[in-house]
């Protein structure tokens, strides 16, 4: 930090350690990527191909032609998109209320949402299963959307509250002086301004719902099988086909990872804000 370090010194003390950390974080995933590009016979005979010369898309072609993986992606998409819509829809007005009003019970209600977020999945999963069975919802998209909403709603209420807090109150007041009602001020002034926050909250919900496994395993079934459950079924009966499995893992992880990379700057801003203040 003091003076101007020379280039070599910088490379030794900063770039190399940073590279080490990046490799540590990415290594296992890169290994899976290389495995997925290695043809099955080569994998069995020699092992993972490190040089791109012997790579092929064989595993991916088999994944698409011989398994129902694309259909599973469709189910995951429906569930994740449904959870995002439901989560955002009920959370926006709640977040606005928490941000703009001071009313009796505000703290208790806010804490209620925080508490809900901490409930162990394992506590909820059994009664939810019994409930869905009673309602005949097992193995439907609705069951998974509802189950995922148990995580998505409290989370987005908190995220959106902090985003709306960042919008000056004077804007609502100005809109109401101009004759808007509260709800009109929310819809015409606050919603457009909060849109970046709403979008990143939505992306976060989408990623968590896409990656969710235990609810999908327990409440899904033959008709609704999401990617996370399907990946596991790629494990063969007698022998694990690591090439195929890796291809499934890569494809299954791709949508969430890409979304995350696109939105990461804003997402991390929103996620860390609360913790840094606390």
């Amino acid at each position: 930090m003091i003076g101007k370090p020379t280039l070599t010194r910088r490379i030794l003390t900063t770039d190399l350690p940073a590279l080490g950390i990046v490799l540590l974080a990415l290594g296992p995933f890169l290994w899976m990527l290389m495995t997925s590009f290695t043809p099955q016979e080569r994998l069995a005979a020699v092992g993972v191909a490190i040089s791109p010369v012997s790579w092929s898309l064989e595993n991916y072609l088999r994944l698409i032609s011989r398994t129902s993986f694309l259909g599973n992606m469709g189910h995951s998409l429906l569930v994740a998109a449904g959870t995002t819509v439901l989560g955002l829809f009920v959370s926006v007005t709640a977040a606005y209320a928490f941000s703009r009003f001071r009313f009796a019970g505000r703290r208790v209600l806010m804490m209620q949402f925080l508490l809900v977020n901490m409930f162990p999945v394992v506590l909820l999963i059994l009664p939810l299963f019994v409930m869905m069975r009673r309602l005949g919802l097992l193995d439907t998209h609705a069951a998974l959307i509802i189950a995922n909403a148990t995580v998505a709603i409290p989370f987005s209420v908190w995220m959106l509250t902090s985003y709306i807090n960042a919008i000056p109150k004077s804007l609502d007041e100005a809109a109401m002086t101009d004759g808007c009602s509260r709800l009109q001020a929310l819809r015409r002034v606050i919603l457009p301004l909060a849109m970046p926050g709403i979008i990143s909250t939505g992306i976060y919900i989408f990623i968590t719902a896409w990656n969710e496994y235990l609810y999908a395993l327990t409440l899904g079934g033959r008709n609704v099988r999401t990617v996370t459950v399907a990946v596991q079924t790629l494990i063969g009966e007698y022998q694990i086909e690591w090439g195929l499995l890796s291809a499934g893992g890569v494809v299954g992880a791709l949508p969430a990872t890409i979304l995350f990379l696109i939105a990461q700057r804003r997402l991390i801003g929103g996620l860390t804000q609360g913790a840094v203040k606390g």
């Binding site: 019994v130 996370t228 690591w242 840094v276």
Partner: protein, 306 residues
Amino acid sequence: MSLTAALSDHAAPTRAWRKRLLPYGLLTPAVLVTVVIVFLPMIEAVVTSLYEFVLFRPNAARFVGLGNYIKLVQDPVFWITLKHTAIWIGLTVPLQMGLGLIAALILNRQFPWRGLARALVIIPWALPSVVIALMWRWIYDANTGVLNEILLRLSIIQSAIPWLADPDKALYAVVVTLTWQGFPFFAVMILAGLQGIPRSRYEAASIDGASAWRQFRHVTLPGIAGVLATAGLLRIIWVANSIDVIFVMTGGGPGYATQTLPLYAFVKARQNLDFGYGTTIAVMFTLLLGVVVAIYIARTSREVER
């Protein structure tokens, strides 16, 4: 301005009521949905734990009071899994925090590709747990896994080790995986905390002749203490709750070697369909975790009242 005030004065009583009820109205959908999908199931869980209830024999459900809880404390597996849960949290969270701190300190330095490095380091966070679990099973594989291959080449070990099949090593192998999965979260949180420390404090410290280590001890650590505490509490809750990675990696085995308390509840209900007892374990686990949750809520609660 005065015109609106006069108008609202006119219809004062109803207006005032509507104004006071508005926030509750805005909150109703979210609260209603959470009550139905979280609180009702939770109450049902507590009730179920008082019954002997096996899923495929719903008519044979029998009220046993605290019978399941008595059975639980006499169940040797309960104590084994409780011990594993303690080891599991006690190792994973500090390891994640330590590695996260190191990563954050490195990524907080100045170098040209810092933005790229930061984006790449958080990728494990975005990967599905199932994919992570399968990926590490492949790495740990006894015959063809890359970990054994590297260690054999470096002559650190003499023969391949079945990491996940060895009861003495399996739990630690899973801890390593979870550490890898969770350290980016700490790195990101700590980075945000580091950026909140004013530069002037470092300058003042270096004028006073403080060494790099002393600067770290007396400027950096106090500056990120709040973040470490919050992130640590959040992670304890998260790690304790996360059963998907272990479930896919080992299913709790070999034997009970990697069984944690929540996983035991899940497996009991899933495989034996013993919902009464499974729920009892889950409720017990929730009560134990409740202590940590209470601390976290109390911390955040102070923050909200503004």
